[in-house]
Protein backbone atom coordinates (compact mmCIF):
# COMPACT_ATOMS: atom_id res chain seq x y z
CA UNK A 1 0.00 0.00 0.00
CA UNK A 2 1.37 3.34 -0.96
CA UNK A 3 1.33 5.81 1.91
CA UNK A 4 1.27 9.41 0.92
CA UNK A 5 4.58 11.07 1.54
CA UNK A 6 6.39 7.87 2.38
CA UNK A 7 9.86 7.68 1.02
CA UNK A 8 10.40 5.43 -1.98
CA UNK A 9 13.48 3.84 -0.56
CA UNK A 10 11.59 2.67 2.50
CA UNK A 11 13.63 3.86 5.44
CA UNK A 12 15.11 7.24 6.11
CA UNK A 13 18.36 7.67 7.93
CA UNK A 14 18.49 9.56 11.23
CA UNK A 15 20.14 12.40 9.38
CA UNK A 16 17.26 12.56 6.89
CA UNK A 17 14.67 12.42 9.66
CA UNK A 18 16.22 15.25 11.64
CA UNK A 19 17.66 17.47 8.88
CA UNK A 20 14.64 19.77 8.56
CA UNK A 21 13.77 19.89 12.30
CA UNK A 22 17.40 20.67 13.14
CA UNK A 23 17.62 23.47 10.58
CA UNK A 24 14.39 24.99 11.92
CA UNK A 25 15.64 24.68 15.51
CA UNK A 26 18.95 26.40 14.71
CA UNK A 27 17.17 29.25 12.92
CA UNK A 28 14.71 29.59 15.83
CA UNK A 29 17.58 29.96 18.27
CA UNK A 30 19.21 32.58 16.04
CA UNK A 31 15.90 34.46 16.16
CA UNK A 32 15.46 34.09 19.90
CA UNK A 33 18.90 35.56 20.51
CA UNK A 34 18.99 38.22 17.79
CA UNK A 35 16.14 40.33 19.23
CA UNK A 36 17.91 40.16 22.58
CA UNK A 37 21.20 41.59 21.34
CA UNK A 38 19.87 44.44 19.23
CA UNK A 39 16.95 46.40 17.84
CA UNK A 40 15.72 47.21 14.32
CA UNK A 41 17.43 44.80 11.92
CA UNK A 42 17.97 42.30 14.77
CA UNK A 43 14.27 42.40 15.56
CA UNK A 44 13.42 41.83 11.91
CA UNK A 45 15.80 38.86 11.83
CA UNK A 46 14.02 37.35 14.83
CA UNK A 47 10.59 37.85 13.22
CA UNK A 48 11.72 36.17 10.01
CA UNK A 49 13.45 33.21 11.62
CA UNK A 50 10.70 32.56 14.18
CA UNK A 51 8.01 32.84 11.52
CA UNK A 52 9.55 29.80 9.78
CA UNK A 53 7.98 27.21 12.12
CA UNK A 54 4.60 28.90 11.66
CA UNK A 55 4.96 28.91 7.87
CA UNK A 56 6.10 25.28 7.80
CA UNK A 57 3.11 24.20 9.89
CA UNK A 58 0.64 26.08 7.70
CA UNK A 59 2.22 24.72 4.51
CA UNK A 60 2.13 21.05 5.51
CA UNK A 61 -1.16 21.17 7.40
CA UNK A 62 -3.11 22.86 4.63
CA UNK A 63 -1.40 21.07 1.77
CA UNK A 64 -3.60 18.39 0.25
CA UNK A 65 -1.91 15.61 -1.67
Amino acid sequence: MAINGSSRRGRLSLRQVFAAPLAIAVLSIVGLISALVGDDIWDVLSWLTLAIPVAVILYYWLRRP
Partner: protein, 382 residues
Protein backbone atom coordinates in the same frame (compact mmCIF):
# COMPACT_ATOMS: atom_id res chain seq x y z
CA UNK B 1 16.73 2.05 17.74
CA UNK B 2 15.77 -1.19 19.39
CA UNK B 3 12.13 -1.86 20.17
CA UNK B 4 12.88 -2.08 23.89
CA UNK B 5 14.55 1.32 23.83
CA UNK B 6 11.56 2.79 21.98
CA UNK B 7 9.24 1.28 24.56
CA UNK B 8 11.21 2.88 27.40
CA UNK B 9 11.24 6.30 25.76
CA UNK B 10 7.55 5.96 25.08
CA UNK B 11 6.88 5.29 28.76
CA UNK B 12 8.90 8.38 29.68
CA UNK B 13 7.00 10.45 27.12
CA UNK B 14 3.63 9.13 28.23
CA UNK B 15 4.07 9.64 31.95
CA UNK B 16 5.90 12.96 31.93
CA UNK B 17 3.24 14.28 29.55
CA UNK B 18 0.29 12.89 31.46
CA UNK B 19 1.42 14.46 34.71
CA UNK B 20 2.12 17.92 33.31
CA UNK B 21 -0.34 18.34 30.43
CA UNK B 22 -3.28 19.85 32.31
CA UNK B 23 -1.02 22.35 34.09
CA UNK B 24 0.76 23.17 30.84
CA UNK B 25 -2.60 23.75 29.15
CA UNK B 26 -3.48 26.16 31.97
CA UNK B 27 -0.10 27.88 31.58
CA UNK B 28 -0.50 28.22 27.79
CA UNK B 29 -4.04 29.57 28.07
CA UNK B 30 -3.29 32.07 30.85
CA UNK B 31 -0.02 32.96 29.12
CA UNK B 32 -1.80 34.04 25.96
CA UNK B 33 -3.30 37.28 27.34
CA UNK B 34 -0.15 37.87 29.42
CA UNK B 35 1.89 38.20 26.19
CA UNK B 36 -0.20 41.30 25.49
CA UNK B 37 -0.29 42.55 29.09
CA UNK B 38 0.94 46.03 28.17
CA UNK B 39 -1.45 46.44 25.25
CA UNK B 40 -4.41 45.21 27.32
CA UNK B 41 -3.44 47.62 30.10
CA UNK B 42 -3.45 50.45 27.56
CA UNK B 43 -6.77 49.38 26.03
CA UNK B 44 -8.49 49.07 29.38
CA UNK B 45 -7.08 52.40 30.51
CA UNK B 46 -4.99 50.88 33.28
CA UNK B 47 -1.92 52.79 32.07
CA UNK B 48 -2.18 56.57 31.99
CA UNK B 49 -1.57 58.58 28.86
CA UNK B 50 0.94 61.32 29.46
CA UNK B 51 -0.52 64.73 28.72
CA UNK B 52 1.37 66.65 26.05
CA UNK B 53 3.34 69.41 27.69
CA UNK B 54 4.91 71.70 25.12
CA UNK B 55 8.46 72.61 25.96
CA UNK B 56 8.46 70.97 29.38
CA UNK B 57 11.38 68.62 29.66
CA UNK B 58 12.38 69.23 33.25
CA UNK B 59 11.91 66.55 35.84
CA UNK B 60 9.94 67.17 38.99
CA UNK B 61 12.26 64.85 40.86
CA UNK B 62 11.64 61.70 42.80
CA UNK B 63 11.47 63.47 46.17
CA UNK B 64 8.44 65.45 45.07
CA UNK B 65 6.70 62.32 43.79
CA UNK B 66 7.37 60.39 46.99
CA UNK B 67 6.21 63.31 49.11
CA UNK B 68 3.00 63.55 47.09
CA UNK B 69 2.38 59.80 47.42
CA UNK B 70 2.93 60.02 51.19
CA UNK B 71 0.60 63.01 51.40
CA UNK B 72 -2.14 61.06 49.57
CA UNK B 73 -1.75 57.90 51.66
CA UNK B 74 -0.13 58.86 54.96
CA UNK B 75 -0.87 55.43 56.46
CA UNK B 76 1.31 53.69 53.88
CA UNK B 77 4.93 53.91 52.86
CA UNK B 78 6.49 54.25 49.43
CA UNK B 79 8.60 51.12 48.86
CA UNK B 80 9.71 51.55 45.25
CA UNK B 81 9.94 54.36 42.71
CA UNK B 82 9.90 52.92 39.19
CA UNK B 83 10.51 54.55 35.81
CA UNK B 84 8.41 53.25 32.93
CA UNK B 85 10.48 51.31 30.37
CA UNK B 86 8.91 53.01 27.38
CA UNK B 87 7.91 56.42 28.68
CA UNK B 88 10.69 57.90 30.81
CA UNK B 89 8.34 60.64 32.03
CA UNK B 90 5.97 58.11 33.52
CA UNK B 91 7.02 57.36 37.10
CA UNK B 92 5.36 54.90 39.45
CA UNK B 93 5.42 54.85 43.23
CA UNK B 94 4.42 51.58 44.83
CA UNK B 95 3.23 51.67 48.41
CA UNK B 96 2.42 49.29 51.20
CA UNK B 97 0.81 49.68 54.58
CA UNK B 98 2.10 47.95 57.70
CA UNK B 99 -0.52 45.19 57.23
CA UNK B 100 -0.26 44.73 53.46
CA UNK B 101 0.49 41.21 52.23
CA UNK B 102 4.07 41.17 50.88
CA UNK B 103 2.98 40.81 47.24
CA UNK B 104 0.24 43.44 47.24
CA UNK B 105 1.15 46.99 46.35
CA UNK B 106 -0.77 50.18 45.80
CA UNK B 107 0.62 51.67 42.59
CA UNK B 108 0.43 55.39 41.83
CA UNK B 109 1.35 56.71 38.38
CA UNK B 110 2.88 60.17 38.24
CA UNK B 111 3.86 62.57 35.50
CA UNK B 112 7.61 62.74 36.03
CA UNK B 113 7.78 66.29 34.64
CA UNK B 114 5.23 67.87 36.95
CA UNK B 115 5.06 65.39 39.81
CA UNK B 116 1.27 65.29 39.41
CA UNK B 117 -0.65 62.10 40.10
CA UNK B 118 -2.07 60.78 36.83
CA UNK B 119 -3.81 57.63 37.87
CA UNK B 120 -3.94 54.78 40.34
CA UNK B 121 -3.58 51.69 38.13
CA UNK B 122 -5.05 48.49 39.51
CA UNK B 123 -2.75 45.47 39.63
CA UNK B 124 -4.52 43.68 42.46
CA UNK B 125 -7.77 42.46 40.93
CA UNK B 126 -9.53 41.92 37.64
CA UNK B 127 -9.10 39.57 34.69
CA UNK B 128 -5.40 40.18 34.06
CA UNK B 129 -4.58 39.85 37.74
CA UNK B 130 -6.31 36.46 37.82
CA UNK B 131 -4.56 35.30 34.61
CA UNK B 132 -1.19 36.48 35.87
CA UNK B 133 -1.49 34.96 39.34
CA UNK B 134 -2.74 31.63 37.96
CA UNK B 135 0.22 31.62 35.59
CA UNK B 136 2.81 32.48 38.23
CA UNK B 137 1.72 30.47 41.26
CA UNK B 138 -1.97 29.46 41.00
CA UNK B 139 -2.70 31.67 44.04
CA UNK B 140 -0.50 29.37 46.12
CA UNK B 141 2.54 31.59 46.68
CA UNK B 142 6.05 30.17 46.58
CA UNK B 143 4.95 26.50 46.85
CA UNK B 144 2.63 27.07 43.88
CA UNK B 145 5.42 28.63 41.85
CA UNK B 146 7.84 25.82 42.68
CA UNK B 147 5.18 23.22 41.84
CA UNK B 148 4.72 24.82 38.42
CA UNK B 149 8.51 24.75 38.07
CA UNK B 150 8.46 20.98 38.57
CA UNK B 151 5.67 20.71 35.99
CA UNK B 152 7.87 22.73 33.64
CA UNK B 153 10.77 20.31 34.17
CA UNK B 154 8.47 17.37 33.39
CA UNK B 155 7.36 19.25 30.28
CA UNK B 156 10.98 19.62 29.16
CA UNK B 157 11.49 15.87 29.81
CA UNK B 158 8.40 15.13 27.76
CA UNK B 159 9.72 17.28 24.89
CA UNK B 160 13.09 15.49 24.96
CA UNK B 161 11.47 12.04 24.99
CA UNK B 162 9.01 13.14 22.31
CA UNK B 163 11.91 14.21 20.10
CA UNK B 164 13.62 10.85 20.59
CA UNK B 165 10.38 9.09 19.62
CA UNK B 166 10.04 11.29 16.55
CA UNK B 167 12.79 9.28 14.84
CA UNK B 168 11.21 5.79 14.82
CA UNK B 169 7.82 7.23 13.88
CA UNK B 170 9.23 9.24 10.98
CA UNK B 171 11.54 6.60 9.51
CA UNK B 172 9.05 5.84 6.75
CA UNK B 173 7.46 9.24 6.34
CA UNK B 174 9.03 12.27 4.74
CA UNK B 175 9.17 15.45 6.79
CA UNK B 176 5.83 17.20 7.05
CA UNK B 177 3.67 14.25 6.08
CA UNK B 178 0.10 14.63 7.33
CA UNK B 179 -1.97 11.57 6.49
CA UNK B 180 -5.25 13.38 5.92
CA UNK B 181 -6.71 10.32 4.20
CA UNK B 182 -6.10 8.01 7.14
CA UNK B 183 -7.98 7.52 10.41
CA UNK B 184 -8.14 10.64 12.60
CA UNK B 185 -5.65 9.07 14.97
CA UNK B 186 -2.99 8.74 12.27
CA UNK B 187 -3.65 12.27 11.08
CA UNK B 188 -3.40 13.71 14.58
CA UNK B 189 -0.29 11.67 15.33
CA UNK B 190 1.30 13.26 12.26
CA UNK B 191 0.17 16.73 13.30
CA UNK B 192 1.38 16.15 16.88
CA UNK B 193 4.78 15.14 15.48
CA UNK B 194 4.99 17.96 12.94
CA UNK B 195 3.84 20.76 15.24
CA UNK B 196 5.92 19.43 18.10
CA UNK B 197 9.15 19.05 16.17
CA UNK B 198 9.10 22.40 14.34
CA UNK B 199 8.41 24.35 17.55
CA UNK B 200 11.01 22.32 19.47
CA UNK B 201 13.64 25.04 20.03
CA UNK B 202 11.12 27.74 20.90
CA UNK B 203 9.16 25.58 23.32
CA UNK B 204 12.29 24.30 25.08
CA UNK B 205 13.55 27.87 25.54
CA UNK B 206 10.20 29.22 26.75
CA UNK B 207 9.61 26.16 28.93
CA UNK B 208 13.02 26.14 30.53
CA UNK B 209 13.17 29.92 31.10
CA UNK B 210 9.72 29.54 32.68
CA UNK B 211 11.20 27.01 35.10
CA UNK B 212 14.00 29.47 35.93
CA UNK B 213 11.41 32.20 36.55
CA UNK B 214 9.68 30.03 39.15
CA UNK B 215 12.92 30.33 41.13
CA UNK B 216 12.77 34.15 41.22
CA UNK B 217 12.01 34.38 44.91
CA UNK B 218 14.72 31.96 46.12
CA UNK B 219 17.24 33.49 43.68
CA UNK B 220 16.63 37.00 45.02
CA UNK B 221 16.75 35.71 48.59
CA UNK B 222 20.12 34.17 47.80
CA UNK B 223 21.37 37.50 46.48
CA UNK B 224 20.21 39.21 49.67
CA UNK B 225 22.02 36.77 51.94
CA UNK B 226 25.06 36.58 49.70
CA UNK B 227 25.92 39.91 48.07
CA UNK B 228 23.59 42.44 49.65
CA UNK B 229 24.57 41.31 53.15
CA UNK B 230 28.25 41.49 52.21
CA UNK B 231 27.96 44.94 50.64
CA UNK B 232 26.12 46.40 53.63
CA UNK B 233 27.96 44.53 56.40
CA UNK B 234 29.34 47.71 58.05
CA UNK B 235 25.77 48.91 58.65
CA UNK B 236 24.60 45.79 60.41
CA UNK B 237 23.14 46.35 63.85
CA UNK B 238 22.63 50.08 63.36
CA UNK B 239 19.19 51.33 64.43
CA UNK B 240 16.80 52.13 61.56
CA UNK B 241 16.92 55.71 60.29
CA UNK B 242 14.23 58.07 61.49
CA UNK B 243 14.41 60.24 58.41
CA UNK B 244 15.76 59.53 54.95
CA UNK B 245 17.87 61.92 52.91
CA UNK B 246 17.01 63.11 49.43
CA UNK B 247 16.25 60.47 46.78
CA UNK B 248 17.23 62.90 44.07
CA UNK B 249 20.74 63.26 45.46
CA UNK B 250 20.91 59.46 45.75
CA UNK B 251 19.98 59.31 42.06
CA UNK B 252 22.64 61.88 41.19
CA UNK B 253 25.26 59.89 43.09
CA UNK B 254 24.25 56.65 41.36
CA UNK B 255 24.32 58.39 37.99
CA UNK B 256 27.84 59.67 38.72
CA UNK B 257 28.98 56.17 39.69
CA UNK B 258 27.56 54.61 36.50
CA UNK B 259 27.39 57.41 33.92
CA UNK B 260 26.45 55.11 31.02
CA UNK B 261 23.32 53.82 32.70
CA UNK B 262 19.96 55.25 33.74
CA UNK B 263 17.82 54.48 36.80
CA UNK B 264 15.27 51.71 36.42
CA UNK B 265 13.91 51.83 39.95
CA UNK B 266 14.80 52.88 43.47
CA UNK B 267 14.18 50.61 46.43
CA UNK B 268 13.47 52.73 49.49
CA UNK B 269 15.09 51.76 52.81
CA UNK B 270 13.50 48.72 54.41
CA UNK B 271 12.66 46.61 51.35
CA UNK B 272 13.94 43.26 50.12
CA UNK B 273 16.35 45.06 47.81
CA UNK B 274 17.80 47.55 50.26
CA UNK B 275 18.56 47.83 53.96
CA UNK B 276 17.17 50.06 56.68
CA UNK B 277 20.07 52.41 55.95
CA UNK B 278 20.29 52.29 52.17
CA UNK B 279 18.57 53.31 49.07
CA UNK B 280 19.16 50.81 46.31
CA UNK B 281 19.23 52.52 42.94
CA UNK B 282 18.88 49.91 40.19
CA UNK B 283 20.67 51.23 37.11
CA UNK B 284 20.24 49.77 33.65
CA UNK B 285 21.37 50.19 30.04
CA UNK B 286 19.13 50.87 27.07
CA UNK B 287 19.74 47.89 24.74
CA UNK B 288 17.22 45.01 24.92
CA UNK B 289 19.63 42.90 26.95
CA UNK B 290 21.34 45.58 29.07
CA UNK B 291 17.99 47.13 29.99
CA UNK B 292 17.19 43.86 31.82
CA UNK B 293 20.59 43.50 33.47
CA UNK B 294 20.29 46.03 36.23
CA UNK B 295 23.22 47.00 38.42
CA UNK B 296 22.40 47.82 42.03
CA UNK B 297 24.00 50.92 43.55
CA UNK B 298 23.73 51.15 47.31
CA UNK B 299 23.40 54.66 48.66
CA UNK B 300 23.66 55.64 52.31
CA UNK B 301 20.15 56.99 52.93
CA UNK B 302 21.48 59.46 55.48
CA UNK B 303 24.42 61.01 53.64
CA UNK B 304 23.47 60.27 50.01
CA UNK B 305 26.93 58.80 49.31
CA UNK B 306 27.51 55.66 47.24
CA UNK B 307 28.59 52.87 49.58
CA UNK B 308 28.99 50.05 47.07
CA UNK B 309 28.00 48.86 43.63
CA UNK B 310 28.61 45.47 42.08
CA UNK B 311 27.45 43.64 39.04
CA UNK B 312 24.79 41.10 39.84
CA UNK B 313 26.03 37.54 40.32
CA UNK B 314 25.50 34.98 37.56
CA UNK B 315 22.42 33.46 39.15
CA UNK B 316 20.51 36.75 39.19
CA UNK B 317 21.72 37.57 35.66
CA UNK B 318 20.44 34.18 34.49
CA UNK B 319 17.06 34.98 36.02
CA UNK B 320 16.94 38.45 34.44
CA UNK B 321 17.88 37.15 30.97
CA UNK B 322 15.31 34.35 31.33
CA UNK B 323 12.50 36.84 31.71
CA UNK B 324 12.36 38.32 28.19
CA UNK B 325 13.04 34.89 26.68
CA UNK B 326 9.97 33.61 28.50
CA UNK B 327 7.68 36.63 27.99
CA UNK B 328 8.58 37.38 24.34
CA UNK B 329 8.37 41.10 25.03
CA UNK B 330 11.75 42.06 23.58
CA UNK B 331 11.19 42.33 19.85
CA UNK B 332 8.16 44.52 19.28
CA UNK B 333 4.61 43.60 18.36
CA UNK B 334 5.52 41.13 15.56
CA UNK B 335 7.50 39.02 18.04
CA UNK B 336 4.55 39.07 20.46
CA UNK B 337 2.26 37.86 17.69
CA UNK B 338 4.68 35.05 16.83
CA UNK B 339 4.83 34.19 20.55
CA UNK B 340 1.03 34.00 20.65
CA UNK B 341 0.86 31.78 17.53
CA UNK B 342 3.54 29.43 18.86
CA UNK B 343 1.69 29.36 22.19
CA UNK B 344 -1.47 28.27 20.35
CA UNK B 345 0.58 25.66 18.44
CA UNK B 346 1.78 24.34 21.81
CA UNK B 347 -1.84 24.13 22.99
CA UNK B 348 -2.59 22.04 19.88
CA UNK B 349 0.42 19.77 20.57
CA UNK B 350 -0.71 19.28 24.18
CA UNK B 351 -4.33 18.76 23.16
CA UNK B 352 -3.48 16.31 20.38
CA UNK B 353 -1.18 14.42 22.73
CA UNK B 354 -4.02 14.09 25.19
CA UNK B 355 -6.35 13.01 22.36
CA UNK B 356 -3.87 10.40 21.15
CA UNK B 357 -3.72 8.95 24.62
CA UNK B 358 -7.49 9.02 25.18
CA UNK B 359 -8.29 7.64 21.72
CA UNK B 360 -5.62 4.96 21.88
CA UNK B 361 -6.64 1.67 20.41
CA UNK B 362 -6.44 -1.25 22.75
CA UNK B 363 -2.73 -1.35 23.54
CA UNK B 364 -2.13 0.52 20.31
CA UNK B 365 1.43 1.42 21.21
CA UNK B 366 2.27 -2.25 21.61
CA UNK B 367 0.86 -2.84 18.14
CA UNK B 368 2.89 0.05 16.76
CA UNK B 369 6.05 -1.10 18.49
CA UNK B 370 5.49 -4.63 17.18
CA UNK B 371 5.19 -3.20 13.70
CA UNK B 372 8.43 -1.32 14.17
CA UNK B 373 10.02 -4.45 15.60
CA UNK B 374 8.98 -6.47 12.56
CA UNK B 375 10.35 -3.78 10.30
CA UNK B 376 13.66 -3.85 12.15
CA UNK B 377 13.78 -7.65 11.87
CA UNK B 378 13.05 -7.49 8.15
CA UNK B 379 15.76 -4.95 7.71
CA UNK B 380 18.25 -7.05 9.65
CA UNK B 381 17.38 -10.05 7.51
CA UNK B 382 17.99 -8.19 4.26
Amino acid sequence: MRAKTIKTWHLVHKWTSLVCTLFLLMLCITGLPIIFYEEIDHLTGNVPDLPGLEGVSASAGADKIVAEAQRLYPGEQVKYVIWDDHQPNLVYASMQGPDSPPDKFRVLAFDGRTGNLLQEPNYNSGFMYVMFTLHVDMFAGLPGALFLGVMGLLFVASIVSGTVLYAPFMRKLTFGTVRHDKAPRAKWLDLHNLLGVVTLAWVVVVGFTGVINTLAEPVLALWRFDQLAEMTAPYQGKPPLEKFGSIDSALTAAQAALPDMTPSFVAMPGTDFSTNHHYMVAMHGDAPLTSRLIQPVLIDAETGAVTDTRELPWYVKTLLVSQPLHFGDYGGMPLKIIWAILDIVTIIVLGSGLYLWLARRRSSIEVEIEELERAEARLAAE
